[in-house]
């Protein structure tokens, strides 16, 4: 199997879909001739032309709204937000038009929105956000967040094949840092959690870039057998996998890179409190960004984003509980 970066895996999925299905088109700001701010669609115009790799006006509401229109007449649009942060400008179309469409009138909206998200590189308050929880709260939208190259490709294929609006949270910090073996051709990764490392003393539940942090933080921690559960999908949330891990490990640390209040991890904690209580042997611990905008300067940003040290400390404390 070829080794790809996380970014190459995303490109590979898009290229395979454009080749396999003429209904697929990719649209976004600067994605055509320029190949995208992060070069995910580099060279695509040469193979697929400017109609199917569409440079759009700088208008996020229009990108999503037009994609909805194209989807309901049979296309399979994949939109790129140049940065996940800019989704705020297209919020209404996603929440009120796309998300509620099938429930209200049984009309499917097969739409993918790619959201380059997350911090760790001095992007500052408007290029570092993790807005996934905003969309988890709104019915009708699926939300997935890969942590590996193989899952980035497989989840993107599954998202494009899904008949519903899917928000694909791709973490910018992983683009060129994460590499791995990726199967060739089209395959689907299910919207289910994955045990990234099995264990029995404590489970760290994470998704996206925080999976790598969880693995690094707990690789060699007091001889404990620490499980890492990679959620992969936030909507649907794989409740059974979460409860299985809790039943196996009894102690739980949940990490979000996002701001802590009402984050995905809060929903996971609530689930465990309600349905996994009898299996717990300690408080459910959360590690997340505090409720501040993500600051620009490296020492400030590092003080806010959950890192290896904070996760290690949280696990150590909980193991000693």
């Amino acid at each position: 199997m070829p080794v790809m970066t996380y970014l190459q895996a995303i490109s590979s999925a898009l290229r395979d879909e454009l080749r396999a299905d003429e209904r697929v088109l990719v649209m976004g700001e600067d994605i055509g001739v320029f190949g995208g701010a992060f070069k995910v669609t580099d060279g695509f115009v040469d193979e697929f032309g400017t109609d199917r790799v569409m440079d759009t006006p700088l208008a996020e509401s229009a990108i999503i709204g037009c994609a909805i229109g194209a989807a309901v007449v049979g296309m399979r649009p994949v939109c790129e937000m140049q940065f996940a942060d800019f989704i705020s400008c297209g919020f209404d179309q996603l929440i009120n038009v796309a998300g509620k469409m099938h429930y209200r009138q049984r009309l499917a909206v097969p739409l993918v929105v790619r959201l380059p998200s997350g911090g760790g590189f001095s992007g500052g308050p408007f290029h570092s956000q993790n807005p996934e929880a905003l969309f988890m709260h709104s019915p009708g939208l699926k939300v997935v967040a890969p942590s590996t190259a193989a899952d980035a490709k497989g989840l993107l294929h599954a998202a494009i094949h899904d008949p519903n609006p899917v928000l694909f949270m791709e973490h910018k910090h992983l683009y060129r840092r994460v590499k791995g073996e990726v199967a060739e051709g089209i395959y689907e990764t299910p919207f289910r959690a994955r045990v990234a490392r099995p264990g029995s003393d404590l489970v760290v539940i994470a998704y996206g870039a925080m999976v790598g942090v969880a693995l690094a933080a707990t690789e060699d921690l007091e001889d404990a057998e620490i499980e890492v559960l990679d959620l992969r999908s936030l909507v649907p949330l794989d409740e059974e996998a979460i409860l299985d891990s809790v039943a196996r490990c009894s102690k739980v640390v949940i990490i979000d890179e996002a701001n802590q209040t009402c984050a995905a991890g809060a929903q996971v904690a609530a689930l465990i409190g309600q349905r996994g209580f009898e299996d717990l042997d300690g408080p459910v611990i959360r590690v997340a960004a505090p409720d501040v905008p993500i600051p620009f300067s490296p020492p400030l940003e590092q003080a806010v984003l959950p890192g290896i040290d904070r996760v290690r400390e949280a696990c150590r404390d909980l193991l000693a509980y």
Partner: protein
């Protein structure tokens, strides 16, 4: 790009270049049906049988009837809340509309959404959301797909004067102008956005904005159903020929309040009186009476149909709560919008043409 006034189409006195007599009666019928259903629904609302509030398009019937009548089966529409005649022309039956108002199981959304928030996907329609100009972008996207696939089809949406203030209006006008998309924007200028008059909404006549986006804008008497048809037919032909979007400003008047609770005291009485003299239904009735049509018979037939539909809708059950959690997501294959009815004789004679 010129801002034009739609050219009158009649070839000679009494005749119409594109509309046969049956078409002209069908237009009247659609307007009468819209008015009759909405009046009936208002009485049901006052009886407590329509939950929530009730919104109607009294006085604006010509705008949706005339525009929808010019659309082909394979065209796609985003229909707004004062455009009931468009649903009727596409083929939604009165009983389903009345059941929809009453939140009954047989309503178009099965009780999941209220009043005029619906579109029948099988008839080529996407239901509106309350953030009205959102649908301009959905229509733009449908038109984008038609152009990408080189299909001779067009998308149309309605919106109001208030919508022109929102960002999505700009984004849709700009995008469709840049890509020269086959889309028709019908600006239903009914003088008020809820209670806000035009002079607090925009500083220029909104039809002028079309030229700023690089396409044609026309102003039409929104109370003349045949003029609405003419302007839309022309806009559709332009769209299909690759001439890009058209903004049609239909000048009309919202003769009732924003919704049932609104007594409209902010509207000067003289303004209402002036527009009452320009009633679109009476206008078409006068025209057809001169052509020898038995207008009273049309009215009677429509009335009878509405009464039967009302009885049927009232007899239908409310939805059960059992399935209320179902269908948030599509579990099977995505099914794209189907074709609607297109009763205009111009399509019947040559369904594949852009007429």
């Amino acid at each position: 790009m010129a801002t034009d006034t739609a050219a009158p189409a009649p070839a000679s006195a009494g005749a119409h270049r594109y509309l046969q007599l049956a078409d002209r009666v069908a237009l009247l019928r659609a307007m009468l049906m819209m008015r009759g259903i909405e009046e009936r629904a208002m009485s049901l609302y006052r009886q407590g049988k329509v939950p929530g509030s009730f919104y109607d398009g009294y006085g604006q019937e010509a705008v949706s009837a005339g525009a929808a009548y010019a659309m082909a089966a394979q065209d796609r529409l985003c229909i707004l809340h004062r455009d009931l005649a468009a649903h009727l022309i596409r083929g939604v039956t009165p009983v389903r509309i009345l059941a929809q108002y009453m939140g009954r199981a047989a309503g178009v959304t099965g009780g999941r959404d209220g009043n005029v928030h619906f579109g029948d996907p099988e008839l080529g329609c996407v239901g509106m959301v309350s953030m009205l100009p959102d649908m301009m972008l959905v229509a733009t996207g449908m038109a984008m797909a038609f152009k990408l696939r080189s299909e001779p089809r067009c998308a149309l949406t309605w919106f109001g004067d208030g919508s022109t203030s929102r960002g999505d209006f700009h984004e849709a006008m700009n995008w469709s102008g840049v890509q020269r998309l086959p889309v028709v924007f019908v600006l239903e200028n009914n003088q008020y956005a809820y209670s806000t008059p035009l002079d607090k909404q925009f500083a220029v006549d909104p039809v002028q904005r079309a030229s700023a986006y690089g396409f044609t804008g026309v102003t039409v008497d929104g109370n003349d159903v045949e003029a609405m048809f003419d302007a839309t037919r022309e806009a559709r032909a332009r769209a299909i020929a690759g001439g890009g979007p058209t903004l049609i400003e239909a000048v009309t008047m919202r003769m009732h309040g924003h919704a049932a609770h609104d007594d409209m005291k902010y509207v000067p009485k003289e303004q209402v009186e002036e527009w009452r003299r320009r009633d679109p239904v009476e206008h078409q009735e006068r025209k057809l009476t001169e052509l020898g049509v038995d207008v009273a018979a049309v009215r009677e037939a429509v009335h009878a149909e509405i009464e039967a539909a009302t009885a049927q809708a009232l007899a239908g059950p409310m939805p059960t709560a059992g399935g209320v959690l179902d269908g948030v997501f599509c579990e099977g294959e995505a099914v794209a919008l189907g074709d609607g009815l297109a009763p205009w004789s111009g399509f019947a004679s040559d369904p594949g043409s852009d007429a």
